[in-house]
Each structure stands twice: as C-alpha cells, then as structure tokens.
Amino acid sequence: MRGHGDLRLVAWGSLLCAAVALVLPWPAASLVFAAPLALALPGYAIVAAAFAKRELDPPLMAVLSVALSLSTLALGALLLNYAPGGIRGFSWAVLLLLVSLGGCRAAARRRDGKPAAIHLPRFRPQRLRLGLSLGGLAAAVVAVALASATLPAKHALGFTELWVLPVPDSGRSEAKVGVKSEEQEEIEFDLAIRIGTDQTVRRSFTLKPGEETSVAIGPPVAPAGTAVPVVATLLLDQDPTYVYRRVKGSLTATGTGP
C-alpha cells in the first residue's frame, strides 16, 4: 500500500478504530470510533478494490462506501453466525478489519502503480458561516437532549405495583412481596401479608414516586411439602377500608420454618 495515501489511511484507520472502539468502556465514546469502522471504511475498501483502475466522483465514492459498508454489515452477520464464537464485538471488529484490510490490499495490487493522492479540502469557512453552522448543530443537539429528557406529566394517572414472587433457589419456600410506586406524589401505604391461616405480616411505609420496597416472607410454619397460600393486600393509609391492590402466591413449607 506504499504510496497509496487513501488506502493507508483506511487500513490504519480501521485498525485504530477497531482497537479503540473495543477497548473504550463508554458506549458513546466507543461509537465515535465504531461508526467509521462499521459505516464507511469497509465500503471504501471494497469500492477501492472494485474500481482500482477507475476514478469515481467523490460523491459517488462516498455513497458507494456507505452503501457497501451497510451491505457488509447485513451480510457479515450471516458469516459470523456460522463462525466460531458467533456474533460478538470482537468477531465483528475482526471481520470489519479484515474486509477493510483485504479491500485495501486488493486495491493496492490492482492499481496501476499510480498512487492516488489524497485531496483533503482545506476547509476554512468564514466566521459567520461557521457560527451559523455550529448554531444549527447546537440547536439539533438541544433538540435531541430535550427529546431524551423525562418531563412531568401531571395529567398522567399514577399507579402502584404490587407483586409476590418466590425467591429463586428457595424451592418456593421463601417469597418476596414487592411494592413500587409509579404515583405522582408521595403516598403512605399499609401492607398486610397473610401466610396460611395463622401468620400475618404487616408493614407501613411511605413511597415516593419511583421508589420500591419489598418484604421477604417464609418459610411458612407447616408440615414439610405443604403448599401454603399467601395473600398480600396493599391499602392506602388515607383510606384503609379500600383494597388498593391484592395479589396471591403460595409457599412450600420445608418443615423448618420460624
């Protein structure tokens, strides 16, 4: 690839992008390197190899580079599906790197020994134009940030979730009763959990919007192997006569209960 500046740039760029994108632990930062690796460089290398002895207009070259990069991604997943290890970050990076390096090497060998010079545009826009363009970009960034922001919605009806689920690996002898508030304001709750006919657990607590709490129950007092029903009832402290939520589950007694 000696002398072919564009190919060297693509080859080394691919290597750098693959390595850095895999190493960086922050997805957004990693994307800065992964995007060219996935969306431009493999396609450029393929086009360079396919049209090694021809000269394409830069816009056509750019369109084909992105298109063939996307095609490589669509077809590359099929290849990786049958490769050892399957579809993983490392295998993707290696595949894209191989396509880029292979394309560049093929292009360098097929070119007529005339190294293609890189004509990077000397972009020195007027301050006003640069300011306007950056203003547009800033407005777009603010637009996406605003779209990503969670905003209050006072007319949305809030609610509270109540559930009972067995604790994993407890053989259903223990369970967790969970409460999560999706209400618009802080609320006081009373939770009553009846285990079988004799045992009752009561809790009173306050949950802010988005807050969650849970109560662990079990094992029940009963002969081993017996299925003991559990009924969890959630009441609003402000209106204890109204059953706000009720869920049911069961525990399997181990004979070693408290």
Binding site: L75, A139, F159
Partner: protein
C-alpha cells in the same frame, strides 16, 4: 478555499434553520409528552422551517451540484431528526419494538434466527438487526441507539443515492434535487420509513442498486465488471434484509430490462436483465431455504387485499373512509389537515401530465425514465387501494417504491422555470410552497393524526421517574422473572415485554391470545389451556384498558375516563386451577398459571 465557499453557498444559514426547525419539533413533542395538548402547528412550523429554506435553495439555478447534494442530505437527516425527537430514547412504533427484540436476541445469544413470538417472519430477514448488532456488540450501545445510528445513515444514504440516480437519468442536478425533495413527500417518509424496521435499510439499498445500474449503463463497457461488485453486494444485502423489497427489486429490474429492450432492441450490455434474474433467484432461494414462513405471513395480507378490492369494487363491502385509523382510539383527522393532504395529491396529479410530457419529449430513449413514468402512473392506481379496507396497507407499502418514479416525473413538470411577469423568484417560491405542501400532506396522509406528536411513557414526578403501566410491567418482568419466562398479553403489553422487557411474549391472533383475553368465559371447547400449554406460556397478562389492543397507542400513561374491558374477562383467569394473580398495577394484572395448566 474560495471555490469551496462558493460550493457551500447558502448552506450555513440553511443548516441553522434546519437546527431551529428540529428544536421546534422537539419542543412540540416535549409539550405533548407533558400532556399539555400543544398546538400541532408548532410541529408543522418546525418541519416547514427545516424544509422551506432547503426547497427554495434547491429551486435556484446557481447552486452547484455538490451544494444540492449537501442540501438533500441535510433535508434527509433533519427530517429523520423529526422522528428521533419524537421518541428518544425508547422505541414506540409497533414494528420497531419487534426488531429491537430481534437485535437484543442477537446481541445476547450471539446468533441469528431466534424466535420472535409476535412476528415470526422477522428473524428470517436479519440484515437490519445484524447490522445493528455490530454497533451494539462493539460499543455496548442499546438497540435503540444502535438502530437509530444505522437507520439514520441509511436515510441519508437513500437521499444521496436518489440524487445521484436522478442526476444521471435527468442530466440535471437541479431537477434531481427537486425530485429528491418531492420524494420526501411520500406518505411513509417522515415516520413509517424512519423507524427501526427492515425496510428502512432495504429501501435505501434498493435505491443504491438502481443508482449503480444507472451509472453502469452510462459508463464504458469495460467498467461492467467493476460495477458488478456493488450491485451484487447490494442485491444480496437486500435479499437478507426484507422480503417485499427483494421482490420489488426483482420486478423493477425486470421492468427496466424490458424498457432497455424496448429502447435498444438488444438484450446485451447494458441491459440489466442478469441482475433481475440474480435478484429473483436469490430472493426465491432465501424464501425457500431460510424464510419459508414468509408465505404464511404475506399470503393473508396480499390475499386479503385482492379480496377487499373485489368486495369494495363489487359493492359487497363498504369502502374504507379516508383518514380513518384502526381502532376505536384513533381520532378523526381535522378538516384542515385533510385538506392539506388532499391538496398534496391534487398538486402531484396536476403536475403529472406535464411531467409525463417532459419525460416523453426529453427522455423517451432512457429506459430508467420510461420505468419511472410507468411507476408514476401506477402510484395513482395504488391510491385506489386505500378505499378498500384490507388493501390499504398493500397500497401504502407499494407507494414508497412507486413514488421514486413519481418524484422524478413531477420534478420534470417545469414549474422551476416558471417566472410570472419575469420574476423567477415568485415561481421559485411557488414551487417551494408546493413541494412543502406535498411534504406536509404526505406526512399527514401516512401517519395517524394523533400520533404525529409523542405520548409519554415515562414522566417526572417529584424529581423521580415513573413509567406508564405497560412499560412498568415490562421493567418489572425484566427485573423479576426468569429470562425464559413466556407471557401471553394484549398487543401493546406484549411488545414492551419483548423490548425493553426482554421476555418472550405472545399476542394477537396467532396463537389466539387476543380472543382468550377478551372473552368473558373460557370456551366450551376448552381450546385455551392446550394453546397455552403448547406455547409454553406460564404467565397471562390482563389489561383492562381497551387501549392495550392498540399496538401504536397502547404504551402511554392512562388518562381519566378511558374505555375499559368488562372485569369478567380478567377475573376468569383467577378461576383456573392453580392460577394466581401475582402482579397487579390496577389496570394490569399478571396471572401465573399452574405448571401444567
């Protein structure tokens, strides 16, 4: 530097307008997510702020081809931004949730072709999700952001490729720029075609293949083998990405081969018939070897469309009302909005004869132009399908392919040269306004009026985040149930259980979870329990909101006075032997079924 400045032309202020327009759209959506019932004119003003400066500049004579290319790319990315600021950072279109689930499955299991319980055909066309998996696995991005980047790149690619295609066919960058702007007015461009769905990748590749064939046709014959590489790669990528696009490509290339023969009376180079055959063979092979479930997916849609057309034409069934959405929750589009949408069609129809005359006079020896002319005429015939209830979707989907031809033909109608009283600016302004009407009218016609702006699925309350009932259920399932847990639910709940819930959830008619959830009692034939057992469903999700049947609206927060299903339809699950209501959020309950229901 001076030449570059000259080439950049008016791009900087136009870019500023596009950014501000996007901000206005985002503001309208922010108000909507706060349930403040914003004036939809804010959104449309934002879209016009994006589009009008670009359109006006595209009508000018002095913009360079490169500036026009940059302008159409700016138009594409800005209009894609309108969709992004509607939803960020969660998918809310019914199909994109399904594809997000597929992408998540690939990233989790490291292989393709995992089950999708709601749309089983989608894993058989893994091109888009495979592409998204590259960014997901390399960077750790979510399927939302990876998909947004991939579709955004594809969207810009499509408009750039369209510009080069139209430039090559028309020989005029000015006509090409206007044709691309007109194409942005197709019904599906703003929202449907911007979603994370397989067609959002396959359609841009379709355009690239057409562009490559057009370039190949004008290049020296010695370049034929060079062009084979991008064309074959593009066709192959389309075949593994989307069924309908691969069939449309084979048909389009067959039509193009025929047009070449009609013009040149020769099947040899540059007639593209080999690529038509290649497309047909690859699509058929993929259909038979990998994606045979496509038969079961497409045949009811297409069969239903034919039947509906016949029934409507014969008077056996009433025609579908225009601007009527599916479901009781779909409100009627306001009269002014309907008027804009109809005006857009009228403008396109009015320009059609002039465009066709131009094509015949200037380009009748160009096979591409002939095919575009036929496509333009065919587009208006697909409008008739909108009057038949079950054919609406078929007509709508065909429209975005045929609109390529229509855009080319209409751009040649000659209005850009209109200069009333020797004032070309008036003509340019009129043309810009007309294309803006097409753009806005297309967006109105292609997407339900009440969904143009976002609805909240998350909200801020006392400084913390709360979720809508369906989303809270999905988040709960993800946190508290086993990864292989299987649910049966209404359409909206099931989709969010797929993504972001990352659980298997069945919905709809196949298997018939929907009737099971809606009926007041279990049937005498007792088909329900075997069906649940057969599909390994351990959890049934009941939702009292009628909105949960709506896969486009059912994700949002509830409001006072929304219609509800009879309680009996929910309570019946508690009577099943061994079934327990283990989760309740008021409107939504989850029943855990006994291990052998």
């Amino acid at each position: 530097m001076a030449s570059l400045r000259k080439k950049s032309g008016h791009l900087s202020p136009i870019a500023l307008c596009a950014g501000l327009g996007l901000l206005a759209c985002s503001y309208a959506n922010a108000l909507s997510r706060q349930m403040l019932d914003p004036n939809p004119l804010i959104l449309w003003a934002g879209i016009l702020l994006i589009a009008l400066p670009i359109l006006y500049r595209l009508t000018s004579r002095d913009a360079s081809p490169r500036e026009r290319l940059l302008l159409v790319c700016l138009l594409g990315i800005s209009l894609y931004g309108v969709k992004v600021v509607r939803d960020a950072p969660i998918f809310s279109f019914s199909d994109e949730i399904i594809h997000a689930f597929n992408a998540d499955q690939i990233a989790t299991h490291h292989h393709l072709f995992h089950l999708n319980p709601i749309l089983p055909v989608t894993p058989s066309y893994p091109g888009l999700e495979g592409a998204a998996s590259s960014l997901m696995t390399i960077t750790g991005l979510s399927s939302y952001w990876a998909g947004t980047v991939i579709v955004g790149a594809a969207k810009v690619l499509m408009l750039a490729a369209l510009f080069l295609l139209f430039s090559r066919v028309s020989g005029s960058a000015r006509t090409a720029g206007l044709a691309v702007a007109i194409y942005a007015g197709n019904f599906n461009f703003l929202y449907w075609g911007s979603q994370f769905s397989y067609e959002s990748l396959s359609l841009p590749l379709f355009v690239v293949v057409l562009m490559a064939i057009a370039e190949r046709g004008t290049a020296p014959r010695s370049w034929t083998r060079n062009w084979a590489v991008p064309i074959v790669l593009g066709i192959s990528a389309i075949v593994v990405t989307h069924h309908l696009t691969s069939y449309a490509l084979a048909v389009f290339l067959a039509g193009l081969a025929l047009a070449y023969w009609l013009v040149k009376r020769d099947w040899n180079w540059p007639n593209p018939w080999p690529y038509s055959v290649l497309g047909a063979v690859l699509a058929t092979a993929w259909l038979l070897l990998v994606a045979n479930s496509t038969f079961g997916y497409l045949s009811p849609v297409l069969g239903g469309a034919f039947e509906a057309v016949f029934n409507t034409a014969s008077g056996e069934a009433p025609p579908r009302g225009l601007f009527e959405g599916k479901g009781a929750a779909a409100p009627i589009t306001p009269v002014p909005a309907r008027a804009v949408a109809l005006l857009a069609i009228v403008l396109l129809l009015a320009a059609l004869p002039f465009g066709l005359r131009h094509v015949w006079k200037r380009h009748r020896r160009n096979p591409f132009a002939l095919v575009f002319g036929v496509a333009a005429l065919a587009f208006f015939s697909t409008l008739a399908l909108r009057l038949a209830p079950a054919a609406w979707e078929t007509g709508n989907r065909a429209g975005e392919f045929l609109f390529i031809g229509l855009a080319f033909v209409v751009a040649g109608a000659g209005l850009q040269n209109w200069a009333p009283r020797n004032r070309p600016r008036v003509g340019r302004a009129a043309l810009s306004g007309a294309i803006a009407v097409v753009l806005v009218g297309g967006a109105i016609a292609g997407w339900p009026w009440d969904l143009e702006l976002a609805s909240p699925v998350r909200a801020k309350a006392e400084g913390r985040t709360i979720s809508s009932p369906s989303l809270a259920l999905a988040e709960w399932a993800r946190r508290n149930t086993e990864p292989d847990a299987r649910f049966g639910a209404h359409l909206a709940d099931a989709r969010l259980l797929l993504a972001p819930g990352d659980r298997i959830a069945f919905a709809g008619k196949n298997p018939d979870i929907q009737d099971m959830l809606l009926e007041l009692n279990f049937s005498r034939q007792n088909w329900e329990l075997p069906l649940l057992r057969e599909n390994g469903i351990g959890f049934i999700v009941t939702d009292s909101r009628e909105l949960s049947l709506d896969a486009t609206r059912g994700y949002r927060f509830s409001e006072d006075g929304e219609p509800a299903f009879p309680k009996r339809a929910i309570l019946k699950f508690g009577e099943l032997p061994g079934a327990k209501r283990i989760y309740s959020s008021g409107e939504i309950s989850v029943f855990e079924l006994a291990e052998s229901p």
